[in-house]
Amino acid sequence: MPRVTIDPITRIEGHLRIDAVVDGGQVQKAWASCSMWRGIETILLGRDPREAWLFTQRFCGVCTTVHAIASVRAVEDALAMEIPLNAQYIRNLILIAHGLHDHIVHFYHLSALDWVDVTTIPKADPVKTAAVGESLSEWPGNSDKEMRAVQGKVVGLVESGQLGIFANGYWGHPAMKLSPEVNLLALAHYLQALEFQRKANQIVGILGGKTPHIQNVAVGGVMNAINLNSLATLNMDRIYMMKDLFDQVIPFVQQVYFPDACAIAGFYPEWFDIGAGVQNYLAVPDLPTDPGSATFDLPGGTIFAGNLATVRAIGGSRDDYFRKGVVEDVTHAWYKGRGGQHPWKGVTDPDYTDFQDDGKYSWVKAPRFEGKPMQVGPLSNILVGYALEHELTKKWTDLALARVSAIAQRPITIDKMQSTMGRYLARAIRCAVLSELAVRQWQLLVNNVGKGDTSTFRAPNFSKEVEGVGLHEAPRGTLSHWIVVKDGKIANYQAVVPTTWNASPRDEQETPGPYEAALLKNPVADPEKPLELLRTVHSFDPCMACACHTLDVEGRAIATVKVL
């Protein structure tokens, strides 16, 4: 049987490798492997826990803020600390802005070209394209003039033969089904998205001091001084500058990204029957609204066996259901031993064996919850929220399903969300939910400051030996940082990142992880061009959290300088 290996390893860069055995046009067995050593937590041992966030924010160059905030939350959890309300709101706003940014980038810049065939664009009719755009939303950037301009750019690229990043798509693949007009509309939004990605990033900068590495978090709160009349602090000007940026980004999310995701889902309804995989779902609650992080704007919980009636809420980092439920299994990962360990007891002792189909084959450990593999990410988020009757989640999910059903001309129900396309659609739903919560959290901050509360920080006190966990429902799903502190120094630190859950290898019971399970029965029309595999893998938004990226420009220097 043909075996497909997708392995983009460059010289030192290790990433995701997917192996799939294909027979009869379908995947029969799959393996997900991360081919780069990821022992980056070891750098934290012996350091001051108050500084851990500076380092963890460099775990991943894409999700910097995410790891900074999960880290300070872990230390605060260990110390059972409360933090000022303003600190919660400011962190929440940073996390929301990052989430909006990240989801926009994923949809347009990381995955759209799996569905949109750029090479058909010269054939599109700009007037018809504008009409399609108008039928989807009231966004002002859908005029035929705009469409003609974007089409002109693509024609220019095709004529010059300089297709750039569009040179290596699977163009003309039988699984590409959109009309030239829809392809043109999607590409126009792909280019417009750059501007809104930048604006979302500016919000992070206003609150965080700098981007991409924020400077303002601290164990005990945030370091933003609030003084409404001072230029150097978080003042009214900055608070309104932030509001102004949200007011520009939010319409892009609600009038462009959300309708585009619904449209693509509606044009490819067959992908609601593919790629369910592991149907256990995990999401943690986030956007805390009280100093002790006991109440949240976004719910968390678990669902097992694809049955929404099994939903059980997670109450936060102090909830033993989560705190005691997680282990990381190393049976098929390149670490010594077999079986699972709780993250506080986790060791990272490498044991590289080469890729063995039935043995060890990945650097990613296999996290399990109550012994089971769990899918994490926006889909878990949406299903848990829907099952717990979270109002905003229900509103946007029902709206999305109605739109998709209308375009597909067949009913697409909540159950169909458990699929490859469901993951794409869930990300857009979550982004819309976040966009509404941005306004709410901004108002909460303004109201609280308006009451005269300008407190943002409480100094932590360290006791002899403590352990804690910091949670964040990141763009890619549940993130947990686990810390053990002894005599004021870090004695153990483990980050269980979303992609570890989703890209996990098999465990001691030989149960495959979510990528591996989702690829089973995935269609592959042409093993030489495994576009369909990429669609399912990309639906999880993989991020291997190993940010080494040395640029390969072998033999092309314009000048060489030898330093002696």
Partner: protein, 176 residues
């Protein structure tokens, strides 16, 4: 008087992976040692993947400082202009971490907000394993890399001025 050229000097790389952190290291040395015109910004951008376009789209010129994979001795500098970067064949993207410089440049150009000029100051690394801090040859290459940035700023008409008393560079990741 014409408006001064706006320049973004961006250090790329992961400071927790040895010599991969040379870009951010050079940025901190520049910040500590030189007074820069208002139109010149210096930023440690880490490894932003497709977050990079946001940093490329607001300047007339961009200077990137990064570890590069090229044949040669560790610590050697390689300078590249736009054409040399564009000539490298792209590989399929799977994760947001895949090298994004070419993609980001292509995107901002297509969107009509790309930089008019580009220089990449590349440094050949010795080791990029987990660990904070630079190898000796790469540490020695930092001043020549800064000099290359300074020459480009002169060429662009926005020279930097050495500070009389240099601040201590803020290399927080390399402290014990």
């Amino acid at each position: 008087m014409t408006t001064p050229t706006t320049v973004a000097v961006l250090g790329l790389g992961n400071v927790l992976l040895g010599d991969d952190g040379v870009g951010p290291f050079v940025i901190e040395m520049l910040r500590a040692g030189y007074a820069l015109p208002d139109s010149v910004s210096v930023t440690d951008v880490g490894t932003p993947g497709l977050g990079l376009p946001a940093y490329l789209s607001e300047s007339d010129a961009v200077i990137l400082v990064d570890a590069v994979c090229a044949s040669g001795e560790p610590g050697e500098l390689r300078l590249y202009r736009r054409q040399e970067i564009d000539d490298v064949p792209l590989k399929p993207r799977v994760s947001p971490h895949d090298p994004a410089v070419q993609e980001a440049l292509f995107l901002v150009d297509l969107a009509g907000c790309g930089p008019g000029e580009l220089l990449l100051v590349g440094i050949i690394p010795e080791q990029t394993a987990v660990g904070a801090g630079l190898s000796k040859p790469v540490r020695r290459a930092c001043q020549p890399a800064i000099d290359a940035v300074l020459r480009e700023l002169v060429r662009l008409g926005v020279p930097a001025v050495p500070r009389r008393a240099m601040d201590a560079p803020h290399i927080w990741w390399a402290s014990a």
